[in-house]
């Protein structure tokens, strides 16, 4: 069993977890939700073991480095963070419906990493520019931020569903947390994400400065991370503006997550070079 196999299995486990959570919401079966939690925990175990194994494998190959150096490894890490953060929320708010909107994202990230023909799961040696502790700090902080934004995105979708709540008793939307809680929770996630995105941009800048003597160069990846940062900064301030009700904030959170995805995947389609992520 190598790490790639283990992580492929993890993909399926996350798929099952997502299925259970969704099933629990749609058919109002709390038991399935509990299955979801256990499956998600199993997925986390597989995910962590996969990452650890990959780390060991890289040392066995004689090119040892933390498994955070390419798109495949970052996606795997991203999925792990989404599920971990989600389970923390589940525990503190005791509501499993949120799982139906967040675990599928982890599953999709893993499935994309494992199945996309454009993403290689080979362990590659590090080119000189990537040999930096700042890079590790950069990847970790960015992806904690992205994972928090992913969850805020799930919560904002739930919020919009809930807003169009049908009055019918026993409708599955009744299982969702209150709109007030959804809004508050997604705001918490966005603040958490914003802190880590800022830290991610900063560590990236420090890394660039130590490798090339320039902390900011307006390359497309940098610029898109700044665009993402602007969108969430807008959202944070829009809360202080009278007349901006929560619905618009939910839309902004969705736009923000779209910017995250573009920073992550879309930038490779643009002209220009960012040494990381190809």
């Amino acid at each position: 069993m190598n790490s790639s196999n283990l992580l492929s299995i993890t993909t399926f486990i996350y798929g099952f977890a997502a299925f259970f959570y969704i099933f629990a919401v749609v058919f109002k079966k709390p038991l399935a939700g509990r299955f979801g939690t256990w499956t998600a925990l199993a997925g986390i175990a597989g995910n962590i073991s996969g990452i650890a194994l990959r780390w060991v494998e890289s040392y066995k190959m004689g090119i040892g480095h933390a498994p955070l150096s390419n798109l495949y490894e970052s996606l795997v890490f991203f999925a792990l963070l989404i599920v971990v953060i989600y389970l923390v929320i589940e525990r503190s708010y005791g509501n499993r419906t949120i799982g139906a909107f967040t675990t599928p994202l982890a599953f999709l990230a893993m499935a994309y990493a494992s199945l996309s023909p454009n993403i290689s799961d080979r362990i590659q040696p590090l080119v000189p520019a990537l040999k930096s502790n700042w890079l590790i700090a950069h990847v970790i902080t960015c992806f904690v931020g992205y994972a928090a934004f992913a969850i805020a995105f799930g919560l904002s979708i739930m919020f919009l569903f809930k807003r169009n709540d049908s009055k019918e008793e026993g409708h599955f939307l009744k299982l969702f947390p209150d709109m007030k809680i959804l809004d508050e929770l997604s705001h918490q996630m966005i603040m958490f994400g914003f802190l880590f995105l800022s830290a991610g941009i900063i560590t990236g800048a420090v890394w660039a400065n130590s490798a090339w003597g320039r902390y900011w160069g307006w390359d497309p990846k940098e610029t898109w991370s700044l665009i993402t940062w602007f969108v969430y900064a807008t959202l944070i301030h829009a809360r202080f503006m009278r007349g901006w009700h929560e619905k618009r904030l939910a839309y902004l959170s969705i736009i923000g997550f779209a910017a995250v995805l573009f920073t992550y995947f879309g930038v490779n389609l643009l002209p220009g070079l960012h040494s990381y992520g190809q």
Partner: protein
Amino acid sequence: MKKNEISGDPLNGVWKFFASVKLTVTLLLTLACTSIIGTVIPQNENPAAYFHEYGEFLYRIFSFLDIFDMYHSWWFQFLILFLTINIIVCSIDRLSSTWKIVFAKEISFDIAKLRKSYKEEFSGNRTPEELKSLFLPVVSGSFKYTKVEETETGFVIFAEKGRWTRLGVYAVHLSVVLLLAGGLAGSFFGFDGSVNIPEGESVKSIILRNTGREQPLDFEIRCDDFNVSFYESGAPKEYLSKLTILENGKPVYNKDIIVNDPIRFKGINIFQSSYGTLKPKEISISFTNRETGMIYRRKASVGEEINLPEAFGKFVIKEYSDAYDFRGHNLGEAFLGILTPLKGDPAEVILPMRFPSFDKMRKDELIISVEDAGRRYYTGLQVTRDPGVPVVYTGFVVMILGCFTSFFMSHKRLCVEVVKKGGKSRVMVAGIANKNKLGMEVRTQRMAKLLSEKAVT
């Protein structure tokens, strides 16, 4: 106060305009949207390439709007200037009232306001006097400041903490100003250039990246040696330059630099950024007669004609290539030569360094091979000076601390009011925070639970 006195003044209107969060939201969204342009249209390329790509009409419009270097364009800088004014004005506008709260000498509590906030109530079967000594340690255990006030029918404990966290937001906004100021300082007083130094040679100036002009340095940089190592896959593993800094011809500092580990000397940073091979000076070539096995060795530089013995004629090396392409295969470093026999037509000869017997394929009487290319490396260095970096890095730290403070900490206030009811007491616990109201409700509940355990025995 002052603002009200001069209402109607146009300056007041300008002030209000710049103090508004609406402007912030507009500016941030505009910056987000316009920043996209520069990621879709490649920046700072050759004008001819743009002209070709977009046609004359669009090219003119784009040029006028500085789209080809949009992050330094007048309108983008204008947006950033507006944002800076917005931040400064807004902060000044609010700072005085926050300052009064944070640094107030006498801490005052507004019990009416607290009563209206989240509260829990319960009865205890002890008298207020007993409760006071029981409650006080519990409350001061989790709040920095506590104060007790006697009332006619009992007492009130006020407690608070995190008053200073109200300044977190100002730290974040200050950090943005620091980043912009540092960036500005860097663009005025710094430079960014590069230089290639052949092994064993030294330079006294560099070429600037933006303008292509030469920038003299106060010292000399000498490259004593350069090495590159590769992984088995052929990807580069490490570049290393042994550099010496010379002042007035005397070595004053030396260091081996690799990517991510530069020299920092007198405010100037020297980074390993690339490398290459120089045109060889003296190439050792061998000529073998296939039939007799006789070997002749000659030295020559590129373009230098060699007269060959026997009837082989003349040979000249025409050019050198780092990566010679032979029918779609990369042969690596190779020389290209022309052999002109005494009789017959000139023939083209390919001499790859990696394949010394490659020329046998020509099936000629004479086999030519390069034995030593006399190759030399040059190291490619990036040389920068940016006096703004300390300011920018300060901004980084302040931003993270400020964000953390304003997102996850708050000014929390709690009051516990105890009123005598017969031989027992009635207790109210109310809590208020300037952020994260839900979190404060939970804390208040927890405190109420703790206290009610003490109050009932």
